[in-house]
């Protein structure tokens, strides 16, 4: 088979081009040959001047105006084909020698050599020898003419080309004349034409006539061939027609096919470019016949001896090439597939090689790149079967061509055509495909088997061909992209291939393909940004990022840090403007004089050892000196010790630079650097809930520039837990010189743990130290914005950027909150402890200084939780009980503090808060115990039932008197009530202390609020009537009801009593003695109250001991049915006397039925009926009667 056959091939004159004489430099030979070889078509019109018609030309219809001769130059010549009789274009019809005169001084010798070389080409009709660059001496030598050596005098290129054209035209004219001669001789004398098919077959068996006809037919076919070569298709066609007829008659199938083929060539000469459908149909029809005939010839003849398959395949390829267009692809594919099937029948390996080459080329022309690659690989395999270096080179080159289709091309090739890397997808590739393919990396794409095979074959052929660079590249691609699929042994093999190739390469050679799989370069600077220079980001290690934040300074503003997104550590902040630094391009700022940590991470996923010689940091765009503080050795040492761990399979195959963005690095002059530490250790402060403590924060300027501006703000969670920051201290310390230090106290109050946390801790019964702590890192953050002077102090004087940036220091207040006292519940106690009757009444409310009788919380008396002044009882007192439990492992001491307001109404009276505090005794709650704390709420009683309540709550005074308190408050919104409660609650503080230095406040606001919600009115408002008993002095003998008209008349009593019965125990009463007493009834409203008062006395059993059969008490005066009218805000005393017969405990009770009750009273009594009498009952009073003194 011959390569590159087409339908035109039949009309091409084959000319061998041979280098003659001394060695010709390669470039020159190529130059000479190219000058010659461009003349593949010589117009008949141009050769007419060289043509001499010796006798009548057999080419009667030669188109001298339009026709042309086609010449095919075969450089280096070709061995004679056994089939050259069958197809005359296979004959070498002319020989052209090329000689380089400087290397061949003796032209005579050249002529001899040329003549000798021509001997090999028996079919050659014309011989020429061209000698280039002759010396003057050679030009002078007259013998050249005889030697038949044509000298090309040295001149410029154009002249040489013209000379060459002339020579070729001369050659063509000579050839034409020779063809004429040959045809004339053949027509007259006949010729014996044989093919290898005929060589051993005897004609004897056949009829003589038939043999003669056969011979005639073959002669006609050959004459047709010559006509075609001579550029006269009409003549050729005539001869071919005759030949076809004769061959058909004689059954000479093979020649029949040949003639038919020739006729198509004749038809197509000069019409190859025209696409005439009818012509195309004709050509197709005839060629399918040709193929059929060749096949029949193959069947007829002895296939083992010699095969005509190659002609059949050539015909198929010729047709395929003729039809090779996209729209006819199906037909072409069928032809090519048929041809590929024929490969099995080819005996000669080189025939198969040519066949595959041609098929591959045709598929490539069709745009079937994968098919082309497939057959190219078949070609390469055939080459590799041959055992010589040239074949290996060919194999390597062919495989390199396929690498694009298999997407394994070298990076250098890739860069040339990087725009369209879709090799696997041909024509129908849609837009998204390219993108997808770039995402699907080589390793993940499942054609990887093919890719690896192809690369391995390239590597093998390169090694065999001895091309180290190609071998290196192939091994590198294989190793880099597919290492996870290669066994360690295979990797080692590849590594040694790399090494071997590298040894053969001249030093300094660079290959575009990176060899090692994934050497990941990771740059991490001190801000925790990580920027990968080659491959993707791995991790970021924030190295104290909060201390070195850089904040752009907004010089126009007082608060310069606003409006400028900090440059880290957050890559994204919602406040950053989508400005020039969009995308993932990072802006880094390096500061002069401060070390920047750059972390380079190297991973070796290969199965063999690697040596890293050096690592460079290249920084473009900035002119500053970088010198490493640590060197590569340390780095590698660290890596060897396992400090850098990496997973080689993490980013397998992603050779694409996915996130690679080289950051913009800008360098700014030195900035101040504030460093903070907590005095007493940077560990977390462990605080119980509600604990208040000062944290002393020491700020030091570790930079070389003074800090001129500083501002502290709060951020993070639980900001309200920071009670105070000593802003002033910091401000006064400015400017903070380099090295200077300032300590500022920050007062924090530990926040409440959320219920979830505490419940969780409770349910799990976790250890106290861990389970009940608050989570780390949720404490408040102090943001210190600071900056140096506006004018940079850099003396270099070079032009500076407008304002040096400021910085931000984030100081997390490490607070670890432990669960403290747990609040269980709060409730309002409604217990009633009677007061003792004495000569005075318990202190009334409006006295103000009633805290004297605050219940005594005593830890010393275990038998009683509360000690109450027995003479007072719960008179006018409400108790709020808080139940607290201590789940911690330390003891707490709780004290209740009630802040009393000044009562401005009476001007003189004021409350000293400190003294109020003093009186509160402490309750100790041991670990795992609960305790109850009582809070007396007496102090909140209002003196009268209206007015002041509203005054306290900042309500308008208009409604006083007109609208009742209760009615008003019921109409009030709930918010008002809440405000009232808040007011009440805010006065109660439960402080605790644990150990020596832990103290805090219990947050019980909500709890108290809940407890008071329902009964706030009871707590706040007094009853409309207050009843009180006291002993009457003996000397005064009031026997009638006597309105005193004094508001605070009671307060005088103790002083009046001083001369009285001070020998007796206070308030003690003797039995069998008349005891004068009086009842005081006070009207707390602003309206006159008319009532029916009655007094009862009960003994310990609760029996009425004044009335009835077993009365143990005698009395004087009126005890029941006392009609009284009490003016508003006044009180009335009613005297009476008791005579106790039996010592013991008695209880006195005053009660009244109010006549003509007003609305206010009805509301107080919570009754709606207007008729129903309103019953008022006072607090009970105790009477202790002793028998004798």
């Amino acid at each position: 088979m011959e390569p590159d056959v087409s339908m035109e091939t039949g009309s091409e004159i084959r000319v061998a081009v041979l280098p003659i004489g001394g060695a010709i430099p390669r470039d020159l030979l190529r130059d000479y040959v190219s000058m010659l070889a461009r003349h593949t078509r010589v117009e008949l019109s141009s050769i007419s001047s060289f043509y001499v018609e010796h006798q009548k030309s057999p080419f009667a219809h030669q188109p001298w105006d339009t026709g042309a001769l086609r010449i095919q130059f075969v450089v280096g010549g070709a061995p004679p084909s056994p089939w050259e009789d069958f197809q005359s274009n296979r004959k070498v019809l002319a020989v052209v020698g090329v000689c380089h005169c400087p290397s061949s001084p003796d032209l005579g010798l050249v002529a001899d050599q040329f003549a000798a070389a021509c001997k090999g080409y028996t079919s050659a009709l014309v011989e020429r020898c061209f000698a280039f660059c002759p010396s003057d001496a050679q030009l002078e030598d007259k013998s050249n003419k005889e030697n038949n050596v044509i000298l090309f005098p040295p001149s410029d290129r154009q002249a040489q080309e013209l000379h060459m054209l002339t020579m070729v035209q001369d050659l063509a004219a000579s050839l034409l004349m020779e063809f004429e001669k040959w045809v004339l001789r053949a027509e007259s004398a006949g010729t014996i034409l044989k093919t290898p098919l005929d060589s051993q077959s005897s004609l004897s068996s056949e009829e003589f006539i038939k043999a003669k006809k056969k011979r005639l037919g073959r002669a006609q076919k050959t004459i047709g061939d010559y006509c075609l070569l001579a550029g006269s298709p009409v003549d050729a066609n005539a001869h071919y027609t005759t030949a076809i007829e004769l061959a058909r008659l004689t059954g000479d199938v093979f020649w029949h096919a040949g003639a038919l083929e020739g006729s198509v060539s004749a038809l197509l000469v000069d019409r190859m470019d025209l696409r005439d459908p009818t012509l195309e149909e004709e050509v197709k029809y005839r060629y399918y016949s040709v193929v059929q005939l060749y096949r029949r010839a193959f069947l007829q003849d002895n296939a083992q001896r010699v095969s005509t398959v190659s002609f059949e395949l050539e015909a198929a390829l010729k047709l395929a090439r003729y039809l090779c267009r996209r729209e006819l692809s199906k037909e072409v594919v069928d032809l090519l597939m048929g041809a590929a099937d024929g490969a099995k029948s080819l005996i000669d390996a080189s025939d198969r090689l040519i066949l595959y080459v041609e098929i591959a080329r045709l598929f490539g022309m069709l745009g079937y790149h994968r098919k082309a690659a497939f057959f190219s690989r078949q070609v390469a395999q055939l080459y590799l079967q041959q055992d010589n270096a040239n074949a290996a080179v060919s194999a390597m080159q062919v495989l390199s061509i396929t690498s694009k289709a298999y997407q394994v091309q070298s990076r250098r090739a890739d860069s040339n055509s990087s725009v369209s890397p879709n090799g696997l997808g041909s024509g129908h590739s849609d837009v998204g495909k390219m993108h997808l393919q770039s995402i699907v990396s080589l390793f993940e794409s499942q054609w990887n088997t093919l890719q690896m095979v192809v690369l391995r074959e390239i590597l093998m052929s390169s090694v065999r061909a001895g091309v180290p660079l190609a071998a290196w590249s192939a091994a590198a691609r294989l190793l880099r992209s597919y290492y996870p699929l290669i066994t360690p042994a295979g990797q080692s093999g590849l590594a040694s291939s790399l090494t071997n190739s590298a040894e053969r390469l001249p030093p300094g050679t660079r290959c575009a393909d990176p060899a090692l799989p994934f050497i990941r370069h990771l740059l991490l600077n001190e801000y925790g940004h990580s920027c990968s220079f080659q491959l993707e980001m791995l991790h970021s290690f924030p190295i104290h990022p909060s201390q070195v934040d850089i904040v752009k300074r907004n010089p126009g503003k007082e608060e310069w840090w606003l409006d400028s997104a900090p440059s880290g550590p957050f890559i994204y902040t919602p406040f950053s403007k989508g400005g020039p630094n969009d995308g993932n391009k990072q802006d880094l700022t390096w500061i002069v004089g401060e070390p920047v940590q750059i972390l380079v991470e190297l991973a070796n996923p290969c199965g063999f050892d690697l040596t890293v010689d050096s690592i460079y940091l290249s920084v473009h765009s900035v002119n500053f000196d970088v010198f490493p503080l640590s060197d590569v050795d340390n780095l590698l040492l660290g890596a060897a010790q396992g400090l850098v761990l990496s997973d080689p399979f993490r980013c397998c195959g992603s050779g694409k630079l996915k996130n690679a963005s080289i950051p913009n690095i800008s360098v700014v002059p030195a900035l101040p650097l504030l460093v903070s530490h907590v005095v007493g250790g940077d560990g977390a402060a462990i605080l119980y809930e509600g604990e208040i403590r000062d944290i002393w924060l020491s700020l030091t300027n570790a930079g070389t520039v003074p800090i001129e501006q500083a501002h502290i703000s709060l951020s993070g969670k639980h900001q309200d837990s920071v009670i105070s920051i000593a802003y002033e201290t910091l401000r006064l310390a400015l400017p903070l010189k380099p090295g200077a230090e300032v300590t500022i106290p920050v007062t924090i109050k530990a926040w409440q743990l959320s219920l979830v946390d505490s419940d969780h801790a409770m349910s799990k019964n976790a250890p106290l130290s861990t389970g009940k702590m608050s989570k780390e890192g949720n404490g408040p953050l102090l943001l210190v914005y600071y900056a140096g002077p506006l004018e940079p102090s850099d003396p270099s004087g070079e032009k500076q950027s407008p304002v040096p940036p400021g910085r931000r220091l984030v100081v997390p207040l490490h607070v670890c909150v432990l669960q403290g006292l747990r609040f269980v519940r709060a409730r309002l106690l409604s217990m009633e402890i009677p007061a003792h009757v004495s000569e005075t009444l318990p202190k009334p409310l409006e006295n103000g200084n009633s805290f004297e009788v605050t219940p005594d919380f005593s830890e010393h008396k275990n038998d009683r939780l509360i000690r109450i002044d027995p003479y007072r009882g719960s008179w006018g007192l409400r108790l709020l009980e808080l139940e607290l439990s201590n789940p911690t492992d330390v003891a707490f001491e709780v004290s209740v503090l009630i802040q009393l307001e000044k009562k401005d109404r009476h001007g003189l009276m004021s409350v000293d808060l400190d003294s109020a505090d003093m009186d509160c005794h402490k309750t100790r709650i041991d670990r795992d115990y609960s305790a109850r704390v009582l809070i007396p709420l007496e102090h909140f009683k209002l003196p009268i039932i209206d007015g002041s309540f509203f005054a306290k709550d900042a309500q308008t005074d208009n409604c006083v008197g007109k609208v009742s308190n209760t009615g008003c408050s019921e109409r009030n919104t709930k918010a008002e009530l809440d405000a009232c409660i808040n007011n009440l609650v805010s006065k109660i503080k439960v402080r605790w202390q644990s150990g020596r230095n832990s103290c805090g406040e219990l947050n019980i606001k909500d709890a108290i609020q809940a407890a008071l919600q329902t009964s706030v009115m009871d707590v706040l408002l007094p009853d409309p009537l207050t009843f009180g008993f006291r002993l009457r002095k003996k000397e005064t003998m009031p026997n009638q009801t006597n309105p005193t008209g004094k508001l605070n008349g009671f307060s005088d009593e103790p002083f009046a009593q001083s001369d009285g019965c001070n020998l007796r125990p206070k308030g003690s009463i003797l039995a069998h003695e008349m005891t004068p007493m009086e009842i005081l009834v006070r009207n707390n409203t602003k309206e006159m109250i008319k009532m029916n008062l009655s007094i009862t006395c009960r003994d310990v059993a609760g029996e009425n001991c004044v009335e009835g059969d077993k009365a143990t008490v005698l009395w004087a005066g009126v005890l029941s049915g006392i009609e009284l009218v009490v003016p508003p805000l006044q009180e009335i005393t009613h005297p009476f006397s008791f005579y106790f017969l039996v010592p013991g405990e008695y209880t006195l009770l005053g009660a009244a039925v109010i006549d003509d009750a007003t609305d206010i009273l009805r509301t107080c009594a919570r009754t709606n009926s207007a008729v129903e009498p309103i019953f008022c009952r006072g607090s009970p009073f105790h009477v202790h009667v002793v028998g004798t003194l």
Binding site: S329, K330, V333, F363, K371, F374, L424, D430, K433, Q446
Partner: protein, 144 residues
């Protein structure tokens, strides 16, 4: 199994194989053969892509061949509309059992649709289900 050689590949729209299996009964030089089979199937994609546009048939019998090995293809519906879930089921075989092949393709197609309906399966990604693999091989034994 009557077929000595069979190589089955499902190719996604991006010409990336998402499933491949050697189904042949011959065990000789399996490794090399597998490479060659994949090469043939890869090359056949060129032809298949052209042919698929010229016909509405889903089953494309013997669209390509190399030596004794024939490539038959089942084009899933939707390639006309450039549907993203258009796939080629490609079989390289040396048998002539056309009916069996057709049934094989149809049943594998059903299997594949089941895979597609799995919400956890990303269309176009590699099929790694061993269940699918087992079923395909069972079908190959049954029909090929």
């Amino acid at each position: 199994m009557t077929s000595a050689t069979a190589c089955f590949v499902i190719v996604s729209r991006n010409d990336i194989p998402i499933y491949d299996a050697e189904l042949g009964s011959s065990t000789v030089r399996k490794e090399d053969a597998a490479h060659q089979h994949q090469f043939i199937l890869h090359a056949a994609l060129d032809v298949v892509q052209d042919v698929a546009w010229t016909t509405s048939a889903m089953f494309l019998k013997s669209v390509d061949r190399f030596n004794d090995l024939v490539v038959s293809v089942y084009v899933t519906a939707g390639h006309i509309l450039l549907n993203p879930i258009c796939y080629l089921l490609m079989l390289l075989h040396d048998s002539r059992n056309e009916d069996g092949m057709k049934s094989f393709f149809q049943e594998v197609h059903e299997l594949y649709i089941k895979i597609l309906l799995n919400p956890l399966y990303l269309p176009g990604s590699r099929i790694t289900s061993s269940h699918f693999d087992t079923k395909v091989r069972a079908l190959a034994r049954k029909y090929l």
